[in-house]
């Protein structure tokens, strides 16, 4: 056995290139998987820890409507629930105007005297917290020593903050030293007294929620707790604590599955590499395997050796991959967090936090894929027949029966049907969508050999008139098609995937761009600075009034955004509801998919709503359906008047008329759009609005022209898809390695045939042309097959995966010509490069030697 292993090692040592490329291929796949999971996981854990740290030891919470609970409910509930285990909190996001835009801080307002049980680290039992000053000094905060260090602050120093655009002065009063798990969650949190939080958020008589610790106190008395909840007013409700819908992993599920699926795909391409390398190593050692078998080595031992080699390769490659992945994760963390910030939740930049379990899992995936991919070569090694090998040395290159067209079609039918079935019935199950796509791809792989055969026949006819060498190139390729089918299929798959991704991104971007034109009919927009979690911060009434008076405005649209509990018969959830007061231009431009505008936005108090496509998709809503808005003043039913296209909010949103909305919930203006009179310069109008806002109230608002806002939105889009760009490049790289290694090895396999050609009088340069000609031919064939398959993948990604992930459809699917050319060029270039080294070697080889080598 040891002898066998040593022999195997020597084989790989002497043929380092394919082995190295295989290692790199595995490593690239594992690295991608590791990097994506590690950076995404870091972000998820950071976010969830922040949520956990904030809830403390609470078991339940009383939460209110968009403007929380009245502050007086704290005392009432505390008295009702036996005085303790009740603590209020206010949550906000603060930005530091002096620093870069990405410095995001969380603000947690607590009551140190009420938090003795729930958040003991904030109260008088926590040694370092200067509780008295925290409570009495406006703007006083405490934070972990680590955060102070990061912000370059010391106890006693001040910091200017912007909370919902309001400028606040914060003063550091001391440090907190909570237990490590809580400290990790408070990495970016300024802990302030609840009164300071009221002042910073401008909600002077409100709190966000009451955290309760009930379970441990035998306070399961339903009626008592229910009475306490009722005492908090109309919209208050009891929630069991646990992150529930606020877990980042849940918020970003679509994003997450997509990223993982793409990583797995690249690993799959790596698997083809392994298969090829191991197969070739078996082919190269057939003779010695035969001798060994004749000398009494058991068949199983030979198979085992090949499997062990694969295992070693897998372990080495995966270890390399995990290492690369960890490095890459550090680089990917910033764009990933940025994307999550852009679309899902606002939180600060976490430190890369590696989960050993995830790393192990990625490594194991690499090793498993490698071993599975090497299974067929291992079986082939075990089946080597000593007699056959010793009698005919040429068996490796023996022509194989070409796969029959009918049989191949037969093989491809079941996966194709299964894939189609899965895709047709996909509903909102993303994993099923990917499985469906996987089976469609499997069918495509099964169809590759006959398709290749057809193309080769066509090629033979085309080159028939170009002379014997050209004919030889085609025919010799055709004779090896049995071997070639798999590498070509792998290449087709890899190239097609990159084409598919390009189709998706191009189509999506085009759709977003045209959609932006529809939803931004105004010329100037005013909003609160910050990310998704700050969108429902109200603009000061004085600013709203002042901006409306700026000369040159002919139409305006006001948005009042709030998160509310929405329900239908079977669904229920917190959804953003926007009350609008819209101009005629706005209503005319809106991108409706079904239904009509109704009275929404006209100021007529009608109970109708526009529902965004993602929400309609997830909840199965149609025009005419009824939706209940659970609101502070009263529950309200609205009829769905229209569905509209929306790419901004994958959780979905609902638009209602502002007048009607005012009767439901008291929500301030959160954004405004203005239309300039004909011939008015939007940039000048923006400047005028900016000046009016600055004068009206000390709140920081962002005033942008439509063009500016549009560009910003597209920049965010590009930032989001920059990650897929990176993945596409990696896929291309893996494909390149695969093609190169498979095709160059194939040529070495045919050394004997080449030797014969030399003996028959072929000059070395001719040999070079033949070899390169063959690989180029294969490259062209692969490109020819990859382009149609890539377009199919693109359609599937655009229409199935994208829709199931995010609930939106695309305006149009665009075929990016550039990406097609790029993919074709890649295939041909990789294939020709793969021919160069064998060509040089064969040209230099002495014919007699070549004949022996075979």
């Amino acid at each position: 056995m040891r002898l066998l292993l040593r022999q195997g090692f020597r084989h790989h040592w002497r043929n380092p290139l394919p082995t190295l490329l295989t290692l790199l291929g595995i490593a690239a796949g594992v690295a991608l998987l590791t990097a994506m999971r590690a950076s995404q996981g870091t972000a998820e854990r950071a976010f969830d820890r922040a949520v956990d740290a904030v809830t403390g030891a609470a078991t339940h919470a009383i939460v209110g409507g968009p403007d929380g609970l009245p502050a007086t409910s704290y005392g009432v509930v505390r008295a009702m629930l036996r005085g303790r285990g009740v603590a209020p909190s206010i949550h906000a996001i603060a930005r530091v105007p002096d620093r870069e835009e990405r410095t995001v801080l969380r603000v947690l307002g607590v009551d140190p005297f009420g938090d003795v049980e729930l958040r003991p680290w904030s109260g008088p039992r926590a040694g370092d917290v200067p509780v008295g000053r925290l409570v009495t000094e406006p703007g006083g905060f405490v934070a972990t020593a680590e955060l102070l260090r990061r912000l370059g602050l010391a106890v006693g120093t001040e910091l200017d903050l912007s909370v919902g655009g309001r400028l606040c002065r914060a003063r550091c009063l001391g440090t907190i030293a909570p237990p490590a798990n809580v400290a990790a969650g408070l990495r970016d949190t300024l802990v302030v007294d609840i009164a300071t939080a009221q002042e910073w958020t401008g909600r002077l008589d409100r709190i966000d929620r009451l955290d309760l610790r009930l379970a441990a106190r035998g306070l399961s008395d339903e009626t008592l707790v229910q009475r306490a909840v009722a005492a908090c007013g109309g919209l208050a409700r009891l929630e069991r604590v646990g992150r529930g819908g606020r877990s980042l992993a849940q918020l970003t599920q679509g994003f997450r599955v997509n990223v993982t699926a793409m990583s797995l795909l690249s690993l799959l391409v790596g698997a083809f590499l392994v298969h090829e390398t191991m197969r070739l190593s078996v082919v190269a050692r057939r003779r010695s395997f035969g001798v060994l078998r004749a000398l009494g080595t058991k068949a199983r031992a030979l198979g085992l050796v090949v499997a062990l080699e694969a295992l070693l390769l897998g372990i080495l490659g995966s270890a390399l991959g995990v290492a690369f992945g960890v490095v890459a994760a550090g680089e990917l963390l910033t764009p990933i967090v940025r994307t999550l910030n852009d679309h899902y939740a606002t939180f600060g930049m976490p430190v890369l936090d590696l989960d050993p379990w995830q790393l192990t899992l990625a490594g194991l995936a690499g090793v498993t894929v490698t071993v599975v991919a090497a299974a067929a070569p291992a079986v082939a090694a075990a089946r080597v027949s000593p007699r056959e090998v010793l009698v005919t040395a040429n068996a490796g290159a023996a022509a194989q029966r070409s796969p029959r067209l009918l049989r191949a079609v037969g093989w491809s039918l079941p996966p194709a049907l299964l894939g189609a079935l899965l895709l047709v019935t996909v509903g909102d199950r993303l994993v099923q969508g990917y499985l469906g796509m996987f089976f469609v791809l499997a069918a495509a792989v099964a169809l590759t050999p006959p398709a290749m055969e057809l193309l080769l026949r066509f090629a033979a006819r085309v080159v028939a008139r170009l002379g014997p060498f050209a004919r030889y190139v085609v025919r010799s390729t055709a004779s090896a098609r049995g071997h070639l089918a798999l590498p070509v299929a792998a290449m087709v798959l890899a190239v097609a995937t990159t084409i598919g991704m390009a189709v998706l991104v191009t189509s999506f971007r085009g759709s977003v761009a045209s959609w932006l034109g529809q939803v931004l009919p105004g010329d100037v927009y005013v909003s609160i600075p910050g990310g998704v979690d700050e969108r429902d911060q109200p603009i000061d009434d004085a600013i709203v009034a002042a901006c409306g008076r700026v000369p040159g405005i002919v139409g305006r649209t006001l948005y009042r955004r709030a998160r509310l509990e929405l329900a239908t018969g079977e669904h229920r959830g917190e959804i953003e509801v926007v009350g609008i007061e819209a101009s005629a231009a706005y209503r005319a431009a809106w991108p409706f998919l079904a239904g009509d505008a109704g009275d929404v936005g006209t100021g007529i108090d009608a109970a109708v709503a526009w529902v965004s496509e993602p929400l309609a998709f997830r909840w199965g809503l149609q025009v005419g359906d009824e939706l209940t808005i659970v609101a502070p003043l009263r529950d309200a039913k609205v009829r769905v008047a229209a569905l509209y296209r929306d790419y901004a909010n994958e959780r979905g949103e609902v638009i209602v008329d502002a007048t009607w909305f005012a009767g439901i919930a008291s929500v301030g203006v959160t954004a405004m759009g203005f239309e300039a009179s004909d011939g008015g310069d939007p940039e000048q109008l923006a400047a005028a609005v900016r000046a009016a806002a600055a004068e009206a109230a000390p709140q920081n608002v962002i005033v942008r022209s439509q063009r500016d806002l549009r560009e910003t939105s597209l920049a965010i889009f590009d930032r989001t898809f920059a990650i897929t760009g990176v993945m596409r490049l990696l896929c291309l790289a893996v494909a390149f390695f695969g093609i190169y290694s498979a095709f160059s090895s194939l040529q070495f396999e045919r050394a004997r045939e080449i030797g014969l050609l030399r003996c028959l009088g072929a000059v070395p340069s001719r040999i070079g042309v033949v070899v390169i000609g063959q690989t180029v031919l294969l490259g062209v064939i692969a490109a020819a097959l990859a382009i149609p398959l890539g377009l199919v993948i693109g359609q599937l990604l655009a229409h199935v995966i994208n829709r199931v992930s995010f609930g939106w459809s695309l305006v149009e699917v665009t075929v990016p010509g550039g990406a097609l050319v790029e993919a074709a060029v890649l295939a041909v270039v990789a294939a020709s490069l793969a021919g160069i080294w064998p060509a040089v070697r064969f040209a230099r080889m002495r014919p007699a030697r070549a004949l022996q080598e075979g």
Binding site: G83, P124, I194, E199
Partner: protein
């Protein structure tokens, strides 16, 4: 039954909470290692507060209410109560009003939860015959109805701290009759405190000097024997009880000197209708401080002042908390030459330690001995502070 020691301890502690920066006033945890005097010491943070510098001109009902110019103030009730069947209970309920910043500091705030004061309260029930001690603590900011102290000039006294309260009845003297309500998951009580023996002004007409430094003093008066009745609930059991209580009122900004580390405080009600109060201030070296004081209240309300040069106080034995975190004297003997008495004080339950923000022992005691040559017995309350193991001073 006076229990000022804890009050001072807490007062000092809270003052430090209010005043300190992040430079580490620790010791609020269960294993408090901070010396009492360190917490109580006048560290200069009394700026902006009124000080007790001269005998006050007390006026009622005004002075039953809060004195917001001072940093710390309390309403302190202890009682020994029995059921008709003779089951014995001790009761403690105290409300502290604690300023977190002087009234003059900073600008006015608009947030409805903004506060400059807090209310802190401790309650305990000693189930003497059931051999159980229950206690709990409440903290609440003085805002939005969470914690508040009103009364004096604007009506009868009303104190709220989360779910606990002390409410003087309309039509009374502003303080009495007083209704008390407190409890936690495992105990609760509701008591009615009626008028009893007349008010006793401690020290010099109510100015109780605690150390030589002018201003290290409090305004202090006591109601030494008040009839109390009400209900005590322990789990599912309810007990109708009545008996005799003691109410202390005290406010100050700073009290102890730097060489004082703790105290032992006795409030004893004897069966000859007299009461003895003694506080022994302990110094770093364990000796009694010459500022220790007390009084004997006769049945007709006459008061004899007790001075340290005529008192001998000795302890006997030790009781160690289960976790070893504190060791307290187990029994006491108080001997006074003039007026002559010899009293042996024994806890009615060894473990009456409160493990609250500040760790201390305060509980019901039995008294036996002689006064003026005649045998007497009685019940009372004892408070011992500054006994946490590892306490530096």
């Amino acid at each position: 039954m006076t229990t000022n020691a804890t009050r001072w301890l807490l007062a000092g502690l809270l003052a430090m909470l209010a005043a300190c920066g992040g430079d580490g006033v620790t010791g609020v945890a269960d294993d408090s290692r901070v010396g009492v005097a360190e917490i109580l010491g006048d560290d200069g943070s009394s700026a902006g507060y009124e000080r007790a510098l001269a005998p006050p001109e007390l006026e009622f009902p005004r002075d039953h209410g809060p004195h917001r110019g001072f940093r710390t103030e309390w309403w302190y009730v202890t009682a020994n109560l029995d059921t008709a069947a003779g089951r014995r209970f001790g009761i403690l309920l105290v409300f502290f009003r604690q300023a977190l910043a002087p009234r003059s500091a900073g600008e006015a705030r608009v947030a409805t939860l903004a506060a400059r004061e807090m209310v802190l309260a401790h309650a305990a029930v000693t189930d003497i015959d059931g051999q159980r001690f229950h206690h709990a603590e409440r903290l609440a900011r003085s805002a939005a109805g969470l914690g508040s102290v009103t009364g004096g000039v604007d009506g009868p006294l009303q104190i709220v701290c989360a779910d606990w309260s002390a409410r003087a009845e309309v039509g009374g003297d502003g303080l009495l009759p007083l209704r008390l309500a407190a409890g936690d998951d495992d105990f609760a009580f509701e008591l009615h405190v009626a008028s009893g023996k007349p008010m006793v002004f401690q020290g010099d007409r109510g100015l109780s000097q605690k150390s030589a430094e002018p201003g290290n003093a409090s305004i202090y008066y006591s109601l030494t024997r008040l009839p109390i009745r009400g209900t005590i609930a322990l789990g599912d059991e309810r007990h109708e009880v009545q008996g005799s209580g003691w109410l202390d009122r005290e406010w100050s900004t700073s009290a102890l000197g730097s060489d004082q580390v703790g105290w032992d405080w006795f409030s004893l009600q004897l069966d000859d209708d007299t009461e003895v109060m003694w506080y022994r201030l302990r110094r770093v070296d364990g000796s009694s401080d010459p500022w220790s004081r007390g009084c004997l209240v006769h049945s007709d309300g006459r008061v004899d002042r007790l001075l340290p040069d005529r008192m001998a106080v000795e302890s006997n034995g030790q009781w160690t908390a289960a976790d070893g975190g504190a060791r307290y004297p187990a029994r006491w003997r108080l001997v006074c030459e003039e007026p002559a008495f010899r009293l042996d004080v024994t806890p009615l339950l060894p473990d009456q330690e409160l493990r609250t923000l500040v760790r201390y022992w305060e509980g019901a005691v039995a008294v036996t001995g002689t006064r003026g040559g005649r045998p007497v017995s009685g019940r009372g309350y004892l408070e011992m502070t500054g006994y946490v193991v590892g306490s530096s001073r």
